[in-house]
C-alpha cells in the first residue's frame, strides 16, 4: 500500500476516455457516454478555463491532445517552474485518419473539387504535438510513433535515452488516438525520478 502511494507521488498521468477524465487516479469529470466529442470537449474547455481561442480551429485529435496535456501539466507544474526544453513523445494507431477522411471528401469529386487548406494542415498526427509546443513554448525535441497498441516499452526506452543525455529534462509521453467517434488519450510525465521505480507493467495497468 505504501509502495503504491510512493508510485502515485512520482508518476503523474492523465487519462481521457469514455467521456471521463482521470487525473492521477482521481476522477475529475464524467459525462454521459452518449454525448459526442464536440460537446464533451467544450465542457472540458470550460472546466479547465482554457481561454485559448485557437483551440476551436483545431481538429479533434489536436483538441484531445491539448486538453489532456493541459490537465496534466497544470497539475504537475503547480509547485515547480515550467521549463521550456520539454520533449514530447506521442503515439497512436490511427495517425490523423479522421481528418484525412474529411480532407479526402473535399477532393474526391473532380467536379466539386475544393481542397481545404485548414483541414490539410491537420492531416499529420504530430501537429497535435506542435499545438502543445505552441501553447506552452516547449522547444524540446518531439516524435510521433504509430503502433497497433500502446507501446510503453518503446516510449520508455526513447524517453530514457533523452533523459540520460540531459539529466534534468522532462518528457511528456503518451497515446492520443481518434478513430471515427472513438477516442482515447493517456499522457504521463517521464523524469529522472521515475526510472527504475516505475515499470512498464505499472504504466500498462493504468493505460487499460
Amino acid at each position: 500500500m505504501q509502495e503504491l502511494k510512493k508510485k502515485q507521488n512520482i508518476f503523474h498521468y492523465c487519462k481521457i476516455e469514455k467521456n471521463s477524465v482521470l487525473l492521477n487516479d482521481k476522477l475529475i469529470i464524467s459525462e454521459d457516454k452518449s454525448i459526442l466529442f464536440s460537446e464533451f470537449s467544450k465542457i472540458l474547455y470550460q472546466q479547465i478555463k482554457l481561454n485559448y481561442p485557437k483551440f476551436f480551429k483545431m481538429d479533434d485529435l489536436s483538441k484531445l491532445a491539448l486538453i489532456t496535456s493541459e490537465y496534466l501539466l497544470t497539475n504537475y507544474f503547480k509547485k515547480t517552474k515550467k521549463p521550456n526544453d520539454i520533449s514530447i513523445i506521442l503515439s497512436n494507431k490511427s495517425s490523423s485518419l479522421n481528418t484525412d477522411k474529411e480532407f479526402q471528401k473535399t477532393i474526391d469529386n473532380k467536379d466539386n473539387y475544393f481542397p481545404s487548406p485548414s483541414l490539410f494542415v491537420y492531416t499529420l498526427p504530430n501537429i497535435s504535438i506542435g499545438e502543445i509546443c505552441i501553447r506552452h513554448k516547449f522547444t524540446g525535441g518531439n516524435i510521433f510513433f504509430i503502433s497497433e497498441n500502446f507501446n510503453s516499452k518503446l516510449i520508455n526506452e526513447y524517453a530514457s535515452s533523452i533523459i540520460k543525455n540531459r539529466k534534468n529534462s522532462i518528457v511528456l509521453c503518451g497515446w492520443v488516438d481518434f478513430n471515427k467517434d472513438d477516442f482515447k488519450a493517456f499522457m504521463y510525465i517521464a523524469s529522472v525520478n521515475y526510472f527504475n521505480k516505475i515499470t512498464t507493467n505499472y504504466i500498462d495497468q493504468l493505460f487499460k
Binding site: F138, T139, G141, N142, F145, I146
Partner: protein, 379 residues
Amino acid sequence: MSSIYISSNNIISSLGFNTKENIHKIKKGISGIKFHRNFGYMYEYTAKVENKILNEKFSKIGANKDYTKLEKMMILSLNDTISKSPFSITKDTALIISTTKGNIDMLGSKNSKLHSDRVYLTKLGEVVKKFFKFYNDPIIICNACVSGVLGITVAKKLIKNKNYKNAFVVAGDIVSNFTLSGFKSLQAISNKPCSPYSKNRNGISLGEAAVSVAISSKINSKNIAEIIGEGESNDANHISGPSRNGEGLFKSINKALNMACLSGNEIEYICAHGTATVYNDEMEAQAFNRLNMQDIPLNSLKGYFGHTLGAAGLLETIIATKSMNNNYLYKSYGFNKIGLTLPLNIIKKNQKKNLSIILKTASGFGGSNVAILIKKCKN
C-alpha cells in the same frame, strides 16, 4: 561513447533504383522533376518513380497485385539494403519505418483489390515486417517532413540505449492526389520545377521515393558514415509555417554541435532542407547566419528529387554522405539568383572539396527541426 554507423543503403526515386544510379544522375546534372499529368486532371511538376520499371523489378521478388506502390518501393529498397548489409536480421534487429502519409492513395481508390485497411500505417508496417520476417514489430515514425532523419536518430538512440544491436531504417512517401491537392490548397506548389533559395522561387515540387539504410554500432569495412551528433527542437511558433528567425533550426544545430563537441566552423558542407517555399528557405538563412555558418558550402537536393516528404531526410543523408566520401560537392539544382535577405554560400557548380564532417538538417510541419552531424569513416 559508442559510435553509430550507416553501412549498406538504397535509394529508389525518380532518378533510379539504387544509390549508384541516383548519384550518377546527380553528377551529370539530371533532375527527376518533370511535367506530369497527375490523377487524370492535374498538371504539375512532380518527380515520380516509374510504375512500369517498379513493377518489372518487383516481380522478381513478389507478386505486384498483392502490394501498393509504396509497399513495393519500400520492400524493393529494403531488399537491396538487407542483401548488402554486414549484419542479418536477428531478434536484436529493429525495423524502423518513416513516412508521412503511407498508403494514403488507398483512401481515394474505389477499385483497388487490396483491403482498405492498408491505409493504416500499422498495416503498412505489418506488410514490410512479414515480407522480410523481422522478429520485432516495426517502429513507425510519422512526424511530417523530419520523419526520414528521425529514422536515423531513433536507431541511434535505441542502439546506444542497448534496446537493439542494429536496425534497418526505411523511409518512403508517394505523390498522391491527397498531398498534391493539399499543398496546392496551401498555394505551396511551384508552377515551375522548384528552385530552392532562388529569387523567383514560389513553392515545392512533390516527389516520391523509398530509401533504406542499415545502422549498427559495429565497425565494419562497409560503413560509409558515422553519426556523431544530433539535435532536435520545436519552433513552438506555428503548425504549418516556420519560425521567422529560425529559432528551432538554430537550437537543433547547436544541440548537435554540443553533442559532438564541435563548433560551427568545423562543418565543411551543409545539406540543408531547402524546400523552395519563400518562408522555409528564408528561415534557414536566418538560422545559418545566426550560427555564423553562412559561408559554408550549402545545397538543397530538392531540385533533383522534388520534396519526397517523409523520405527526404534519409534520402538526402545518403546523397550527402556519398558527397563527403567522394570529396565532391553537387550543385544545388534549380538555383539561379539568390533570393534571401541574408547571404548563404549556395553551391553553384559541381566541385571537388575535401570533406570529413558535414551537417544535414530538416524542418517540417508541426514546428519540428532536426540536425545531424555526419563524419567520414576511417576505413
